[in-house]
């Protein structure tokens, strides 16, 4: 295979599939034929300047999804546009905004992006379109990097303001009187990368949007909301939850695509007893090398900064040995300088850079053109992200290849053995709970600060009076003689909100490695126990930090950067007490419940686990007080199991089944497995029966448990499939969790338990 002659992508792929050592690992190979473009009608009402502007950029016709979106927005409907990477979604909102400004130069628009970099990219793109249409439109970013003199200009005259939710929360909404020109004339709100607003972040953003719309109503504007999302199962539902209004789903993708091969690859099993597998990174590099040698532009995605460097080193080493084009292979991740990144992006576009190894920093909208091959070393955590990364390869003409190499992690193993999961439709959902009590109360405070509440005025699910009365008990809010609720404190509530966490009381993480210590981030107390205990390896933006000291009373953790080959996993001893039942229904073998629980958690020791292999390489004690978490949970009480169980067997079965259910739940709801806690009780003191609890590790929850309760049957079936498809003999970390005692067959016991809970019956039905 040491060929350096340029070859076509098909030829290289054909060669690779003839190589037995590689072909054996291919679990699934799907050929997706090329698709021609489908065009919609050019809207008749379009301003001639915009029409000519588009034509000058070679756009004579709009694709179907663009045409649909443009028409709907013009008609005043909220829309959510779902399209794959690089299908021209910018036009979906840029055209209506241009048209609105062409009709009325006083019109304004607000674009929200989850990160600053994306916002800046979009300003450039939008301004380019405006120039092409020969319109002078002031479009500007308003974020933490905007200098003070420019800020006031943007406030007064920015027709298109590009910002992010954090800035909206802390700088724009509380100062709305300085933005009155924007709020009075706001016609379009664009929320891009909708799928990133999920979990706690999404719940916060939903409340920020509630506040935004409340102010718009005050200033007499009623903007249309345009959301853009990657492929998820419930885009319309997510948009409705985030904006509080129904949105029209637009998913008739009309963009053309070349032919594509998708391969799902599993590393070989090295040890059947433990289920250990070969490294995904090594295998990913073996797939990447032949393409690079043949001169095909290739991107390799690693899951962390370290992984990127390991992959890059491996590739360069291999290319050096064989005198390949090693200097044309570059790394790309957070921590590289902006100029360096821009150079790599440019190099990728003009072909100078042949290969790039990247983290998900290259997953969202950054423009790098289209490549030939995308190789994913490890499942990126969601189907949406997988397709975003796959989408980096895909020329309009010619063939592209996308390879997903699984790691040994449970989620990866489930996904790789369910090709329909990745390839056909998308069962995973983004969940948010805008009515999480902690989140809601924090934003209600900010909303009162922004404007007094009328008696009976709604905020979120209903009239806010009860919640305001609750806030008034602590004195920040008061009801005056006219019945309205006023802010009555010197504090500035928006600054107390961190959109990325739920609890008001957070541990601040301080990085001591630079000359001047800087704040790295915050974690809520409950997560702090397991994430930033002393000697923990804390990973932030895929950079590893060692926690030197945790000042629990001060709520501060001091860390410094290191490069370690291991991570830490803290064992949480959890006791759980149900507080309230919101919903209950019978299920095979017992019943399923969704309700509120109090979780008391004590963390006493941590383990050091090697990256990739998850091998245990040491442990240490943790000395922290017990803390309580009030949250929502889903639980299965198996009080009607048909079979007879010994106590020990049942214990093993519950843990095994619980682990598998937890894995499946995290896959279906697109969350980190750590966002869901697992507690199993052989004889629950509260239910008097064997019970599996899955609780949300965010205070108050973000709506996951309610959804799990609804999707109970899928969890049981998925867990059964996960365990039975696993290659191990008696249970392994990928299915039933690490084996506690080597002689016990956790796999069989867990499967038996799941069968008695109706796995077979549901699957048959």
């Amino acid at each position: 295979m040491r060929t350096y002659a340029p070859a076509t992508t098909e030829a290289v792929l054909a060669d690779l599939l003839e190589e037995p050592s590689l072909a054996r690992g291919v679990v699934h190979h799907r050929h997706i034929p090329a698709r021609a473009a489908v065009y919609g009608a050019h809207p008749a009402w379009l301003d001639p300047r915009i029409r000519d502007g588009l034509a000058s950029r070679g756009i004579d016709r709009l694709y179907t999804h663009q045409a649909d979106a443009v028409e709907a927005v013009h008609a005043g409907d909220d829309v959510v546009v779902v399209t794959p990477t690089a299908s021209g979604k910018t036009l979906c909102y840029a055209v209506p905004v241009l048209q609105a400004i062409a009709d009325d130069p006083a019109a304004r628009a607000l674009f929200l992006f989850p990160t600053k970099a994306l916002g800046q990219d979009q300003v450039a793109e939008f301004s380019g379109l405006a120039r092409a249409a020969n319109m002078t439109i002031s479009a500007a970013t308003y974020d933490g990097d905007t200098p003070a003199p420019i800020r006031s200009a943007v406030r007064k005259a920015g027709q298109v303001v590009v910002s992010n939710p954090d800035m909206l929360n802390s700088a724009i909404l509380p100062h709305h009187t300085k933005w009155f020109q924007l709020f009075e004339q706001l016609r379009v709100i664009v929320i891009d990368e909708l799928h990133t607003y999920r979990g706690v972040f999404g719940s916060h953003v939903a409340n920020v949007i509630r506040r935004l719309l409340r102010l718009c109503a005050h200033y007499g504007s009623s903007p249309v909301i345009v959301c853009c999302s990657a492929t998820i199962a419930n885009p319309a539902e997510l948009a409705a939850m985030l904006t509080g209004r129904p949105a029209r789903l637009i998913d008739r993708n009309g963009a053309p695509a070349g032919e594509r091969h998708v391969l799902l690859v599993d590393p070989p099993v090295l040890d059947a007893a433990t289920g250990a597998r070969g490294s995904a990174q090594t295998l990913a590099n073996r797939w990447a090398l032949p393409f690079l040698r043949a001169g095909r532009q290739t991107i390799v995605f690693g899951r962390s900064r370290t992984a990127v460097e390991i992959l890059l080193t491996g590739l360069r080493e291999a290319l050096r040995e064989s005198y390949g084009p090693r200097s044309r292979v570059r790394g790309y991740r957070g921590g590289y300088l902006p100029t360096e990144r821009r150079a790599i992006e440019r190099g990728l576009r003009d072909g100078e850079v042949l290969g790039v190894v990247a983290t998900n920093a290259l997953e969202l909208g950054v423009d790098i053109g289209r490549l030939d091959v995308a190789i994913l070393a490890g499942y990126p955590g969601s189907v949406a992200a997988t397709w975003q990364q796959f989408g980096r390869a895909g020329r309009r003409q010619g063939t592209s290849v996308s390879v997903l190499v699984a790691s040994g992690a449970p989620v990866d193993q489930y996904v790789i053995h369910h090709p329909e999961f990745v390839l056909d439709g998308s069962p995973e959902e983004a969940r948010v709970d805008p009515d999480n009590l902690h989140v809601l109360l924090a934003h209600l405070r900010a909303a009162v600060f922004e404007m007094p509440f009328e008696p009976g005025e709604r905020f979120g699910p209903g009239p806010a009076d009860d919640l305001l009365a609750f806030l008034s008990e602590s004195g920040h809010v008061r009801q005056a003689g006219d019945g309205r609720w006023y802010w009555s404190s010197e504090n500035f509530p928006a600054s107390e909100i961190s959109l990325r966490t739920a609890a008001p009381e957070n541990v601040v993480i301080i990085d001591t490695s630079p000359d001047r210590p800087r704040v790295l981030g915050e974690v809520d107390l409950f997560s702090a126990q397991v994430l930033v205990h002393e000697h923990a390896i804390y990973i932030h933006e895929s950079i590893q930090y060692h926690v030197d000291k945790l000042e629990w009373g001060e709520r501060k953790a001091y860390v410094h950067r290191i490069d370690a080959d291991h991570y830490t996993y803290a064992n949480r001893a959890v006791t759980l007490k149900p507080l309230d039942v919101f919903d209950e229904a019978p299920a095979t073998g017992g019943h399923r419940v969704h309700g509120e629980v109090m979780v008391a958690s004590l963390v006493t020791l941590y383990k050091k686990l090697k990256f990739v292999t998850d091998e245990n390489v040491g442990w240490g004690p943790i000395d922290l007080p017990e803390i309580e978490l009030q949250t929502t949970a889903y639980w299965l009480t198996a009080d009607a199991l048909p079979g007879r169980w010994s106590r020990n067997d049942l214990d093993v079965a519950l843990i095994g089944a619980g682990r598998a259910i937890q894995t499946i739940a995290s896959v279906l709801l697109m969350v980190d497995p750590r966002d869901l806690g697992l507690v199993t009780q052989v004889r629950s003191p509260h239910q008097e029966a064997p019970t599996i609890y899955l609780y949300e590790s965010v205070p108050g929850g973000v709506g996951l448990s309610e959804r799990l309760w609804q999707r109970h049957d899928e969890l049981i079936v998925g867990a059964t499939e996960l365990i039975s498809a696993c290659a191990c003999d008696g249970g392994c970390p990928a299915c039933t969790g690490p084996r506690l005692e080597p002689d016990i067959d956790a796999k069989t016991l867990a499967l038996r338990f799941l069968r008695e809970c109706g796995a077979g019956a549901v699957a048959a039905a």
């Binding site: 003070a148 509380p174 100062h175 709305h176 009187t177 300085k178 009155f180 005050h218 200033y219 709970d433 009515d435 009590l437 809601l440 009162v448 600060f449 922004e450 404007m451 007094p452 979120g460 699910p461 209903g462 009860d466 919640l467 009365a469 609750f470 008034s472 008990e473 004195g475 008061r478 009801q479 005056a480 003689g481 006219d482 309205r484 006023y486 802010w487 009555s488 404190s489 010197e490 504090n491 500035f492 509530p493 507080l579 309230d580 919101f582 509120e596 109090m598 009030q630 108050g700 709506g703 309610e706």
Partner: protein, 505 residues
């Protein structure tokens, strides 16, 4: 998630964090008739209007003569026929964001020689529109507002309140914020620029039992929540004195500085600052007059330190690194920067003369300016090098004396060389000078050898053109000389806009 579930969650949460629900504080004040309570306590009257009640206090009028004709001669002051409205607000917080309210607005205006005041108090939050309406009634369209840091804080805050009420803020003809003027003219001899300091240092007014600014929001919020009204009396008094001090300050400025003859007795630093204020309006003749008066005046007393080191102890943080412990003995003299752009720097004679030399150039009196710079160029201090460079510029561009310019440039280089031996380096100056010398050498070389001086400097010129000056490395940068003072005015503006607290230092 349904509303019913939310209610249950709230109940569970409340039960978990607060087993006994606290009695709601709102009930106590809702029915108590806050307006009447407030009016009685602060000795005011309740003014009822369509939007609710406001409490209005009218303090005794005082005689504060102010000659508006004379005042208008000073830079930045309002025209003599515009009515003046002094304004100061007390607020529920320091952020000018939407949730901060002005609960007390003090207004003052002249009726003949008498200064009349009105204080408008907000008895409850719903009555804000009544307050705003009443404020508007006190501000004629032709009026100038007079405030202290009002451009940065009080007025934007009021504008915010009008916007919240979907009203346009009151129209007025101008806004005189006295803070920048005070910083420019008096800051050099005061520890900070707070209004309180202005009172003690300039106006000879002492306050008794005054309330600290940070206590004010809490006092009003306690009144709203709990009906505690007594602590507000001191706040009203504080506000009354603040507004009155605005009028006094204006009087002080007018009587002491408006007349060119009267201001001959003023402190030289004040005059130098006033010259800056004139310069900003391009009134260079008056500015020059101020500076020349200042140079003739006696030397200023040293500035009063913000905290006198008379009682040490906890103040003396001798355990801190980089802090010299106090072992008794006479206090060390404070380090005296030679010339800086900072407003609190003392006005040395040299600094005034630099300003004068600059002014002369702006007036087009280039010969005199060059002479003034030459006067400054004696010695080998950091100013000398800059002064020679200025002389060189003037001779080259304004006086058409290229050989003379070259000569001045070489002298500047000589000073720089001397200073470099003391490890005092100014790379920017050196680079600029190197280019200047190169150009001058060329010009002088090209010109016909008409004058003798041209020939006499030709020799050293060649060496200068070889230009070792710009390439020498810098070991220390003497940053004390900042001769870009003319820009300092705009810097102050920026500071005022950014943070009211910082601006008052």
């Amino acid at each position: 998630m349904t509303g019913a579930t939310l209610e249950r969650r709230l109940a569970n949460y409340r039960a978990a964090i607060r087993p006994d629900p606290a009695p709601s504080a709102a009930d106590k004040t809702r029915t108590a008739g806050l307006a009447q309570l407030l009016a009685t306590a602060v000795d005011g009257e309740v003014v009822d209007g369509p939007f609710g009640a406001v409490v209005r206090c009218e303090p005794l009028t005082v005689v504060l003569p102010l000659d508006r004709e004379r005042l208008a001669r000073l830079p930045g002051q309002p025209p003599p026929d515009a009515p003046l409205v002094c304004l100061d607000t007390e607020t529920t917080g320091l952020a000018t964001a939407a949730g901060t309210m002005a609960f007390l607005v003090g207004l003052g205006w002249w009726e003949g020689e008498r200064f009349r005041q009105a204080q408008l108090l907000l008895p409850d939050q719903p009555n804000e529109l009544a307050l705003l309406t009443l404020i508007e009634a006190h501000i004629p369209r032709t009026a100038w507002l007079v405030t202290y840091n009002g451009r940065g804080f009080d007025w934007p805050l009021l504008v915010t309140r009008y916007r919240m009420a979907r009203r346009d803020p009151p129209i007025h003809a101008g806004h005189l914020d006295l803070l920048p003027f005070v910083r420019r003219v008096f800051r050099h001899r005061m520890g900070d620029a707070r209004l309180r300091t202005v009172e003690t240092e300039l106006l000879n007014v002492a306050r008794h039992e005054d309330v600290e600014g940070w206590q004010i929001p809490g006092r009003y919020l306690d009144f709203l929540r709990l009906g505690i009204v007594e602590p507000l009396v001191a706040v009203v008094r504080h506000n009354r004195e603040d507004v009155r001090s605005l009028a006094r300050l204006l009087g002080h400025i007018e009587s002491g500085f408006a007349d060119a003859d009267v201001r001959r007795t003023a402190a030289r630093g004040d005059l130098a600052g006033l010259a800056r204020a004139f310069s900003r309006e391009r009134r260079f003749v008056e500015a020059l007059d101020c500076l020349e008066t200042a140079l003739a005046a006696p030397i200023d007393p040293p500035p009063t330190a913000p905290s006198s080191p008379s009682h040490r102890g906890e103040e003396d943080r001798w355990w801190m690194p980089r802090h010299r412990a106090d072992f008794g003995g006479p206090p060390a003299p404070p380090p005296q920067p030679i010339a800086t752009a900072r407003l609190d720097a003392p006005w040395t004679e040299e600094r005034i003369r630099i300003d004068r030399a600059r002014l002369l150039r702006r007036l087009g009196r280039f010969g005199e300016s060059a002479n003034a710079w030459e006067g400054l160029a004696a010695g080998s201090g950091p100013v000398a090098a800059h002064a020679w460079v200025e002389v060189s510029k003037l001779r080259e561009h304004r006086l058409g004396d290229h050989p003379g310019a070259l000569d001045a440039g070489l002298r500047a280089r000589a000073v720089i060389e001397r200073r470099r031996r003391l490890a005092l380096v100014d790379p920017a100056l050196e680079r600029g000078l190197a280019r200047r010398l190169e150009r001058l050498t060329r010009r002088v070389g090209d010109a016909p050898p008409a004058s003798i001086s041209a020939g006499s400097v030709a020799q050293p010129v060649a060496a200068a053109a070889a230009g070792t000056i710009g390439t020498l490395g810098s070991t220390a940068i003497d940053a004390q000389v900042d001769l870009t003072q003319s820009r300092s005015g705009s810097n102050e503006q920026a500071i005022v806009r950014r943070s009211p607290a910082r601006a008052l230092r």
